[in-house]
């Protein structure tokens, strides 16, 4: 049986169940790289171009690890657009080429182009091309794709219940993870999924908040229509898919009475983040905090900010309920 390697980074968090089910249906064995660790990060930072954002650098490290795992193919999709008139960050458009230029002697790369910006036509062609690479006829490919979509939707439904995407993938694979209990403080956390749900990149922001007694709300838990409705209130449409979702989620959270505050996790080198974070900060009326992440591993700064933010919300809440001890 042939093996296909999938790097555990970037859109892995959004589409792994779709990809895994697809290849599995066609009789391939899927091999993942390990969850991000220090070695992957070090390798990635060395191999990648300096201007890339941190998650892209880390992705290089994942590909590099897979190279040594004896896979027949490496799956590096070229994500241009996943919906009409909206785009993924341009770095993703060139990603397979950047990786090929940076890492030598790769196994065969499956670099199908996903561009749904002008409808479905090009996508059908790409699926056919994928069939040629894998030596499978088009009917089988279509069947596998339809099966994978079903699996993907079931994964999305799991995430909706209150899991992070990372946890939802595990639950989808059969692991048992109990949902976090409800606690008095509710915070909405936003950011690109590939930074937020990667425990190394985000320094486990979500786990840290939960450890401080916070119930975390994510954009995956909100109704899609609600997010889109809020996003459409901006004077100009945001043409980045993820950026639009984040603005919409932030505005939706701003209106939900059970969310006390919003944290936006941005990557230092991310172009869209620098704009979207600013838009959100200006629009949102609830307590808001922007956390900027990069390669540093010193967690002190993150912990201080998270603690102070929680303290502030907890004390405001207690004041509003008419009870305030100084010690929080």
């Amino acid at each position: 049986m042939k093996k296909v390697g999938i790097p555990q980074g970037l859109f892995y968090y959004y589409y792994y169940p779709l990809w895994e089910a697809f290849f599995r249906f066609l009789g391939l064995v899927v091999v993942r790289s390990s969850p991000t660790n220090k070695k992957i990060v070090d390798d990635g930072v060395t191999l990648a171009v300096d201007e890339a954002c941190f998650p892209i650098k880390v992705y290089y490290g994942h590909v590099n690890e897979l190279k040594g795992k004896g896979v027949d193919y490496i799956f590096l999709p070229r994500l241009v657009s996943i919906e009409p008139k909206s785009y993924i960050c341009p770095k993703f458009m060139g990603l397979p080429d950047m990786i090929r230029a940076g890492i030598k002697d790769l196994p065969e790369v499956i670099d199908i182009t996903v561009d749904l910006s002008r409808g479905d036509k090009g996508w059908q062609k790409e699926l056919a091309r994928l069939g040629k690479i894998l030596n499978v006829n088009y009917r089988q490919i279509k069947k596998a794709y339809n099966y994978a979509l079903e699996e993907y939707f079931s994964y999305r439904m799991i995430a909706r219940q209150g899991y992070t995407r990372d946890e939802a993938i595990k639950v989808w694979q059969g692991e048992e993870i109990s949902l976090p209990l409800d606690t008095p403080l509710h915070i909405g956390v936003l950011g690109h999924g590939y930074s937020l749900y990667d425990d190394f990149i985000s320094m486990s922001v979500i786990k840290k908040l939960r450890g401080m007694g916070v119930k975390v709300y994510l954009s995956e838990h909100l109704p899609t229509e609600g997010i889109e409705k809020e996003a459409s209130t901006l004077p100009k449409r945001v043409f980045w898919t993820l950026g639009r979702k984040m603005v919409g989620s932030a505005l939706y959270m701003d209106k939900s009475p059970d969310i006390d505050g919003i944290i936006y996790v941005a990557c230092f080198g991310c172009g869209p983040d620098s704009l979207i974070g600013e838009v959100i900060e200006r629009k949102v009326k609830k307590p808001f905090m922007l956390l900027t992440l990069d390669e540093h591993t010193g967690e002190g700064g993150i912990i201080t900010r998270l603690e102070a933010f929680c303290d502030m919300l907890a004390r405001r809440k207690k004041r509003d309920e008419g009870y305030l001890p100084c010690y929080g």
């Binding site: 450890g211 007694g213 201080t304 929680c310 907890a314 004390r315 929080g328």
Partner: protein, 331 residues
């Protein structure tokens, strides 16, 4: 005398205060951390005890600052709080109607917006430490001016020069340029103060409504040049409290006092024997348990490990058999 100890272990300074039962500051110590927080904690503790005549009875300990967890292990803290909460508590204790707190320390600068004694908004510098104490220290050393004289010299200026405020590196090259052109050093220093204020307003305080009273605290508040520059920029009076450089520690002490009194608890304070005798060492090692290769730090007293941190999976931390970070819980 019954009192409460507040400790703020920062990147540059380590501060200690003892407040009495009425919340009054009885003694304070301001030390340079000099890269060795363990030594600074013991030295500070020894010194603050010497400063008070007669027997003292420490009923509660609060720690804050980036070294707050380390201090809590060595001293036995009842409450471990982040700097923002500690500074806000101290400022609103001394000035109950305070609306804006400007706090600039060794590596951090913060703005805290208060309403009726509650933090309603705050911000900290992001990835840039331009305009914080360590940058000023460095520039003063370059110009061969003791940092204590910096502010006094700066306010002697009649015509501050314009220095780029966006970034510490740009500011430095601008300063060197102006200095080589022959501008008097006072004008350059005051120009730097104004640049730092602009930087603070653009990066830290951006978009926030600054209402009076404004309190300026943290080690950098000693610099009268910066205070004047803030007053000029904001067009209002900026208050520098008497104990401006130990406000974090005061906040920690007050939090400890209210916590211990509020819950009627016995303090976890470890006492003289534990703190002053025995050898505290910190060791670091790379854990090879998995591919994360965490840099783990271990604090030992003689041969007994007191705390571990730095391990992502908490394998070392939990080996001590207790939730050593239980104080992190906020609700």
């Amino acid at each position: 005398m019954i009192c409460y100890l507040g400790v703020d272990i920062g990147s540059v300074s380590s501060n200690f205060v003892l407040v009495d039962q009425r919340g009054k500051v009885r003694e304070k110590i301001y030390l340079r951390t000099q890269g060795n927080p363990v030594k600074a904690i013991r030295e500070g503790y020894m010194k603050i005890k010497e400063g008070i005549e007669g027997k003292i009875d420490i009923r509660g300990v609060g720690t804050t600052g980036s070294g707050r967890h380390l201090a809590s292990i060595l001293l036995g803290a009842d409450i471990v709080k982040n700097e923002i909460t500690a500074h806000a508590v101290a400022a609103s204790y001394l000035y109950p109607d305070v609306r804006t707190i400007i706090e600039i320390g060794g590596q951090d600068s913060k703005i805290i917006i208060m309403e009726n004694g509650i933090v309603t908004d705050f911000a900290m510098n992001t990835v840039c430490a331009a305009g914080t104490g360590s940058f000023l220290d460095q520039q003063a050393a370059r110009l061969n001016i003791p940092i204590e004289d910096f502010g006094r010299k700066a306010v002697a200026s009649s015509q501050p020069v314009r220095i780029a405020g966006r970034c510490g590196v740009f500011a430095e090259s601008d300063m060197i340029h102006k200095q080589q052109m022959g501008y008097p050093v006072e004008d350059i220093l005051m120009g730097l103060c104004e640049a730092l204020v602009r930087n603070y307003m653009n990066n830290v305080a951006k978009g926030k409504r600054i209402a009076e009273p404004v309190v300026f605290q943290g080690g950098v508040a000693a610099n009268i040049g910066l205070r004047k520059a803030f007053e000029k920029f904001l067009g209002c009076r900026v208050i520098v409290p008497e104990h401006y450089n130990v406000m974090g520690a005061i906040g920690a002490a007050i939090l400890a006092k209210e916590y211990v009194e509020g819950y009627g608890r016995r303090s976890l304070f470890k006492g003289d024997d534990f703190i002053l005798t025995g050898d505290f060492v910190s060791q670091s090692f790379t854990c090879n348990g998995c591919a994360n290769l965490c840099e783990v730090v271990c604090i030992k007293r003689d041969d007994t490990p007191l705390a571990y941190w730095g391990d992502r999976c908490l394998r070392w931390e939990s080996s001590l058999g207790r939730g050593s970070r239980e104080n992190l819980k906020v609700v």
